[in-house]
């Protein structure tokens, strides 16, 4: 080939390389100069200015709102069984940690297992559905029925039918969580580049090869999008089902603690449990987003940063 630009071994251009490429572009205008350039930004404590803004701005709002809340509660003398201040909630969180953390663990277990089951069943079904049109035609409507029926309405039935409380909660959470994974993955499996499908056909690829090398990787971003939605839904499903079950005992999740605290007018504890549920939801979202970023950062448009 006749390119005259010296090619460095690194795939990502360094600033030095960039200027070299630009000089070369001025000299003979090779397409190498037209390569996308990675963004290099100033960092402070390992994070970019933009990231600091993203962290600090909502944090400031949070501190102001909490301060205002505490101030109003104290000024107006609102009793803590109506509205406790944030400081009291925080103290309760620490003093009741023993009971609450046990319940948190139960709720997280149900959520995690439900999500895992949703990934397995949703993933497997979507592959089966895209392999067989008949299977999709005959089963997909039932998946939709399962999705549109409110979980609060079927939870009592499931709790009656299934003897084990944990298992019944798990089933409820799974029903809520699995549909986004199913529908997103089906969409992903069907959105492989048409020309790439032709290319596989050209080389006589088997169904299996097309699935492994083309359809599954093409579906990955869609699957991960579904997973992030399902993570939140699995938690909601687990909490809602426990509310319906209303069961007590040693193996109770956070929802039962909220109910219990409500009956006993221990409102600070109710708030503390509520904080734990929200924090778990945020943590699940962040973990799944991080996994998604790790898997897509090298190649997918959604994980790319462009300067324009």
């Amino acid at each position: 080939m006749t390119d005259t630009v010296a090619r460095p071994s690194a795939a990502r251009p360094s600033p030095a390389r960039l200027s070299q490429a630009q000089t070369a572009a001025a000299a003979n205008g090779t397409d190498e100069a037209a390569r996308p350039v990675a963004v290099v930004e100033k960092r402070w404590l390992g994070l970019t200015v933009e990231t600091w803004q993203k962290i600090l701005a909502p944090l400031a709002i949070g501190v102001i709102v909490l301060g205002l809340w505490e101030f109003i509660v104290r000024q107006a003398g609102i009793p803590h069984y109506i509205l406790p201040g944030p400081l009291l909630i925080f103290r309760t969180l620490i003093s009741d940690w023993g009971t609450l953390s046990g319940s948190l663990w139960i709720t997280l277990q149900i959520t995690g297992l439900a999500l895992l089951a949703a990934v397995l069943v949703g993933g497997l079904l979507s592959i089966l559905f895209t392999q067989s049109k008949w299977l999709e035609l005959s089963l997909f409507p039932y998946a939709i029925i399962l999705q549109v029926t409110p979980i609060v309405a079927i939870a009592p039935l499931i709790i009656i039918w299934v003897n084990d409380t944990l298992l019944s909660l798990l089933i409820c959470a799974w029903i809520v969580a699995f549909f986004p994974i199913l529908s997103n993955t089906i969409l992903g499996l069907n959105s492989a580049d048409h020309n790439l499908v032709n290319l596989f056909q050209l080389y006589g690829a088997s169904r299996w090869q097309t699935l492994i090398y083309l359809r599954l990787p093409a579906a990955l971003p869609y699957f991960l999008g579904g997973l992030r939605i399902s993570g939140g839904l699995a938690l909601i499903g687990a909490v809602v089902a426990e509310f319906v079950a209303g069961s007590g005992g040693t193996a109770s999740g956070l929802a039962f603690r909220i109910l219990e605290a409500g009956y006993q007018l221990k409102i600070p504890r109710m708030f503390a449990a509520l904080v734990m549920v929200s924090m778990s939801g945020i943590a699940i979202f962040l973990v799944l987003s991080f996994i998604s970023h790790l898997l897509l950062r090298r190649w997918h448009e959604s994980a790319m940063r462009r300067e324009n």
């Binding site: 795939a11 037209a34 390569r35 032709n198 056909q201 006589g204 997918h300």
Partner: protein, 273 residues
């Protein structure tokens, strides 16, 4: 098909090369299921080692002909024969083609090397050997230091080079290109044209190059097959006798300008009729 046209030098009638052609199209037609007649009565022989272009306006069925030769879509009339091909277990001829699409059509989740390895992986070549052959193919298109780059890290021209390397990694007998450089800027296009000619001169495969650019087809080809639309059919089969290797000097020569003029006139006539 119109009888081969007789033209003054430098454009001459394409002669049939001695020996059996690599691929023979006889009365090939394509009618889509919605009733549209895309191509009708195409007779075309491609001979071993020749560089032929399929030139015509948009929508004249050039790509359809190319895709049928590649086996992407069966002709609805006529037949395509491979007189020199080996046959597989079921008695079907092994087409042995490489195909370059209009877009680079790379898998975004795979590196340049993995993309070029794909045809070999699909043919169940051991991964070590596949990697070696893919690296050699990438080297032949000048991308030896970008083996581990992802498509998004490459420019449009470089992505096209990866696509060409992928088409050539199986060492096909015939390389089919579907307006491969249409989306590139002119400087990059000229460079890739030269690189393609270099690869062709070295490896000696047969090329069928679909384009709507008279200048590109005259620069590259030994032979230009002109097509017209509604329905897609061949209206002229012209030889370009200028010597190889061709370079920037050829692009500015009187010979080149003359040939472009004549081919343009034939194309214009084809569009009017």
């Amino acid at each position: 098909m119109t009888a081969p046209a007789s033209l003054t030098i430098p454009v001459e009638v394409a002669r049939s090369t001695a020996g059996r052609p690599v691929v023979e199209l006889r009365g090939v037609g394509k009618r889509y299921s919605n009733g549209t007649l895309a191509v009708a009565g195409v007779d075309l022989d491609l001979h071993g080692g020749e560089f032929a272009s399929l030139l015509g306006p948009s929508g004249c069925g050039k790509s359809t002909v190319l895709r049928m030769i590649a086996g992407l879509g069966e002709p609805s009339a006529g037949r395509i024969d491979w007189p020199r091909a080996q046959h597989d277990g079921r008695g079907q001829p092994v087409r042995d083609v490489g195909f370059v699409f209009q877009e680079p059509t790379l898998m975004p989740w795979a590196t340049a090397l993995q993309n070029v390895m794909l045809p070999l992986r699909l043919e169940k070549v051991a991964s070590r050997e596949a990697a070696d052959r893919a690296a050699a193919a990438l080297q032949s298109v000048g991308l030896d230091s970008f083996l581990r780059a992802y498509p998004r890290e490459l420019s449009g021209g470089m992505k096209m080079r990866v696509s060409i390397a992928r088409a050539l990694v199986t060492e096909p007998r015939i390389l089919l290109l579907d307006e491969p450089f249409a989306a590139l800027d002119e400087i990059t296009r000229h460079k890739l044209n030269d690189d393609l000619l270099g690869l062709w001169a070295k490896a000696g495969f047969t090329v069928l190059f679909v384009t709507h650019s008279v200048f590109e087809s005259v620069y590259l080809s030994q032979r230009i097959v002109v097509m017209a639309a509604r329905p897609g059919r061949i209206v002229a089969d012209l030889g370009i006798d200028a010597a190889f290797p061709r370079d920037a000097a050829f692009r500015t020569s009187v010979e080149y300008a003359e040939a472009c003029k004549i081919v343009s006139a034939r194309l214009a006539a084809a569009i009017v009729s």
